[in-house]
Symmetry: D2
Subunit: 373 residues, 4 copies
Amino acid sequence: MDAATSDTAWLQAMLDVESALARAGAAVGLIPPDAADQIASACRAQLVDIGDVAHGWAAEATPVIALVDRIRLLVEDERVARYVHLAATSQDVLDTATALVARNAFDAAAADLVGVIALLAQLARAHRDTPQVGRTLLQQGVVTTFGAGCAARLTAVNEAWGALRLWLRDRLAAQLGGAVGTLAPAGDRGVDLAREFARELGLNEPVTPWHTTRGRVAELAAAIGVLCGELAGVAQDVVLLSATEIGEVHVAAPGGSSAMPHKQNPASAVLALACAHRVPGLVSTVLAGMPQELQRSAGRWQAEWATLNELLRLLAGVARHTRASVEGLDVDVDRMRAHVDQLLAGATLDVGSAPVFVDRALARFPMSEGPTP
Amino acid sequence: MDAATSDTAWLQAMLDVESALARAGAAVGLIPPDAADQIASACRAQLVDIGDVAHGWAAEATPVIALVDRIRLLVEDERVARYVHLAATSQDVLDTATALVARNAFDAAAADLVGVIALLAQLARAHRDTPQVGRTLLQQGVVTTFGAGCAARLTAVNEAWGALRLWLRDRLAAQLGGAVGTLAPAGDRGVDLAREFARELGLNEPVTPWHTTRGRVAELAAAIGVLCGELAGVAQDVVLLSATEIGEVHVAAPGGSSAMPHKQNPASAVLALACAHRVPGLVSTVLAGMPQELQRSAGRWQAEWATLNELLRLLAGVARHTRASVEGLDVDVDRMRAHVDQLLAGATLDVGSAPVFVDRALARFPMSEGPTP
Amino acid sequence: MDAATSDTAWLQAMLDVESALARAGAAVGLIPPDAADQIASACRAQLVDIGDVAHGWAAEATPVIALVDRIRLLVEDERVARYVHLAATSQDVLDTATALVARNAFDAAAADLVGVIALLAQLARAHRDTPQVGRTLLQQGVVTTFGAGCAARLTAVNEAWGALRLWLRDRLAAQLGGAVGTLAPAGDRGVDLAREFARELGLNEPVTPWHTTRGRVAELAAAIGVLCGELAGVAQDVVLLSATEIGEVHVAAPGGSSAMPHKQNPASAVLALACAHRVPGLVSTVLAGMPQELQRSAGRWQAEWATLNELLRLLAGVARHTRASVEGLDVDVDRMRAHVDQLLAGATLDVGSAPVFVDRALARFPMSEGPTP
Amino acid sequence: MDAATSDTAWLQAMLDVESALARAGAAVGLIPPDAADQIASACRAQLVDIGDVAHGWAAEATPVIALVDRIRLLVEDERVARYVHLAATSQDVLDTATALVARNAFDAAAADLVGVIALLAQLARAHRDTPQVGRTLLQQGVVTTFGAGCAARLTAVNEAWGALRLWLRDRLAAQLGGAVGTLAPAGDRGVDLAREFARELGLNEPVTPWHTTRGRVAELAAAIGVLCGELAGVAQDVVLLSATEIGEVHVAAPGGSSAMPHKQNPASAVLALACAHRVPGLVSTVLAGMPQELQRSAGRWQAEWATLNELLRLLAGVARHTRASVEGLDVDVDRMRAHVDQLLAGATLDVGSAPVFVDRALARFPMSEGPTP
């Protein structure tokens, strides 16, 4: 994940955008094919000094001017150089690069998400009928099964991840509008160019440029927020159930303490909560940045990338640590049963429909086939 | 909208839930039909002292105990009274009531949302080819058309509203799990009862109870956030384009000033922005409340209703004021043209693909048929 | 508290501002004394239809135009009427009214805050040496005393409330700048008028008008946020220590459950947490509204009042419920001791400097004299 | 600033804490002086592999265990090694290191803050009497002076920075409580050790350990939020006043555009706004993390450092870019006058008390002596 969201990853994503733009230009006849090839060859991160681009960002409020200058130098041929960044504006490059970075970041996080889901499914199945005290407001209530709790978390994580994947499929979009959204330099080929550009990158083609209509970005931030929240629910339960006095589960790889060598801290669950705690504020930053003015915002748009990048990194962190918190989880069935017996005090055990809800969740999200949206 | 989100509306929604629960109980054979009828008859807001319920909330952290006591008193017959609130827990009533309130609130706001969309479509169509200076970072850039800006806003509002309506159709769900999510008092009819209950209310049936998996609530808050953000984009443009020095549009019903009688303030657009500004913080409150513990959260869940209610009210406010800001908008085409001519300084006018993007937006969202998701 | 932050309270506060403005005008010779008296007499909430003012707010984005119209009607005498709202602008009235409402709201909440502090001091003193297991990351660590935990919370609440009171003393300010901050209609008496106006209301006089420099408002919101956060720490400990499996404290007036009659929920602590949970998002709303433009903001300023009012109400709620959660708290010293003995397993009890920290906290915040900043 | 908040800066800060702890231990007689010297010698960032510490963080939810292990290895002598980290817990090291990092970060940002303040004072003085149209809700209102606007911003930035410096002086505190806040391993020297520790580092000594009472941290975050908000007000005005149609000011070093070579973007002001926009969400993250449980929080505390570090970096960014936006600002007095004349349409110019407010601000914040709290 670190690699997927590093400065170099962003640089390469911007270069991939310029490269795709050149190829799209060739496809619709605005650029000679050989010029497009030359541009594409120049668009490699190792040929660009990332410091120059960062410096451009600090001086111009966009890194793209410096980037385009560098690509033009690299292609050498002046005839070709003028085709670089054809019809595009800085925001086109950055918005589309954001889409590419996001896609790669999700690919990188997918294994941990699948892992969490598979582990929750295993726990739900294994403990479908394991009686456990249900606790509301941290007070013992009546009996349920441990599997039912896992099935609810399984359902929730799956639905949130499904929503995110649907978003990626249907809403992750290219941006190409040029200076003020008219693609004027492309003449009557503007719309064709935009379509071909999206196709080159495997991204959705929007109805119109969306330079200052940022619902797409906000939806992504919110979907990450929801998924992190559901994952954190898993971690929260692990922390509480492993509290010394409850002690019904124990993480496989507890953390230590610099002052108390006997401590067995649920470190992974704590880290998952810590990462998740940082997410809602960032989502509000993206939402608060939505009302962007006229053809390009002065300040709100420029606050998006760093915020989104942090959200992508935090999702990866929440996923990784949540997975670690349930992987190899030691479930103390006897202690669960002892708590149940104490609560029942001789009354009949009745777990109601808990096992049926487990079955429903597993039927809906059969892990053998992997998670589905 | 005020009516849809008032204290009385919440009270009636909770009563509707208890009533539906009784009818569902009768449908699956857990309650005699006549008992269900009696319970349903008692579930009317005018029979309940809202102060008692509020007092119960302050004393018990749930209004439902007082409410159930009251319904039992109303049905009088002790045999019937014990069927009230069958198998349910407080959270079942409140979560399902929230769904009902939200549905009514959206119905109440729909006219203003349709209004905004229709007005944006009219403006986009009427000004498909009206040249206007495109402004990026508040600096004059190159020329576009006023219709293209309207088309981008039209697309954005429509997509955001479409997403919200899809959410309502697919995710607005009933909640029925009983004390700890097992529906134990319903014996082997638990799942049937939950299905019938959802059907009675026209709500989706969830896979499992979702007492502490709050993705559903967070998704709703976020969808409101996105829609408010897109509407605020419209209002933001109205404020900027009606700035004295730009003066390209004027709202139909300007507000005055207590100190400067000559002022023509874009009051409606300002109020839309003010309402929208309050939304992202509330969305973060809902997201931050997601990791709810075990079978019922101690604090986070209880913070949801008031927050959601405020979000519903703010959406209504944003919709109403945004509509007012564009209804009868006076578009000064000559002044737009004068700014364009000044910028062009004799160069050729070229609006690129701006009109094509207008056509695409109108083709996708044909107002004659009303908005579609 | 409800009374202090009601619509009527706001209306009366605005009227108090207009009244003080008239008296200040008389004091500096801009208004005949009898005219000031007549205006002051008219400034009573019961003479004004609150609906008219609310309607003005919705139409003009300010309630003050309708309010001033009404006062002018009430004074009847046209000669006097033109002195109403002398030199002021709507924002002067609303910002100053906000200060008055805030002051009254704090007065109303003070008893509960003093109550919390006195109760924490009593607990710290009574349990200075009561051994209790210290828990980190919800794992049993080593031994401390229950009093030490109370002393830390006592210190924190006291410091946060002290900071808020210092803010009220030093930063709660009047606003009087007129249309664009020049007080032009007051001729060369502008600064004198502003000084006298602040003096009349017992508010601080700012260096310059602060129509678009909102640090003052943000500081207030943040100070409320910090105080609510510290109070919530108290409630959080009550919830955790009263968890069934820990069971070291029990609230005096537990809440019930609509589904589980045996439940003893820490309802007051839960409500305190619920109120506190809603605060940080609102603080971010105020902070995000800070960069207000030129001489008056179009949207951000108008979002402040409702947000601040909600913060004041939530502070009252957190204070009330936190107090209820510790008032009459049943501390199970034996159970605390049993947990300690279990942890020590025969090792020597050592509570280190815990009692000394209790002494330090009590020396710093001696409750017999009441809390000090 | 980057250096002050880098990973290496944090590592060195943690080492400085361990070093100060050893020296404090020696001062109160708990450690032989030569052992303290050896420990202090080992506490240099270049001797520690930062990757090991990061790895410890990911595995244990604290970097301090790995750090202490490394220091113990470095001192070699087993007799000395056991004095490393004397009586402390991980949180003591991290909380105190946070204080050191914050102090250094403010030192690094001070030059830009002084710069902004000095520049605003110069503008206020130079344009004390320069007539400018006052704009409310972006509508032309009546006349003020450009200096009066600068004086209001000057006052606001100065007050916010003054508040932050008072906080640093009075509230920036050391943390030393050991495992659960009792400092038990220090025997009867616990309080002395804590006092000496704070003295060594030049930090305030708290009344009690504050492991789970986080008001201090929240106050710092909020004070940064307020200062960033006031600075952003400056940048916002620069953006608006340099809008093409207003054009009353121009930044000294405008940014370009990748698509429109003629553009003169107020890039520095835009970047200041972008940095400032990211702040309120982070402040809410810190506030939401306040209710920390019992003797150490499982998740909320661990979310603080990264958030605070980001806040420190953003403050530096806002300060730097705001300074750049006003440094060498080109004020077009003629254009200001032309707008005034147009508005007056022959009426008499009256700037009221605007110049007096400038004088008051300059008297309060005399730049020749540098800014004062």
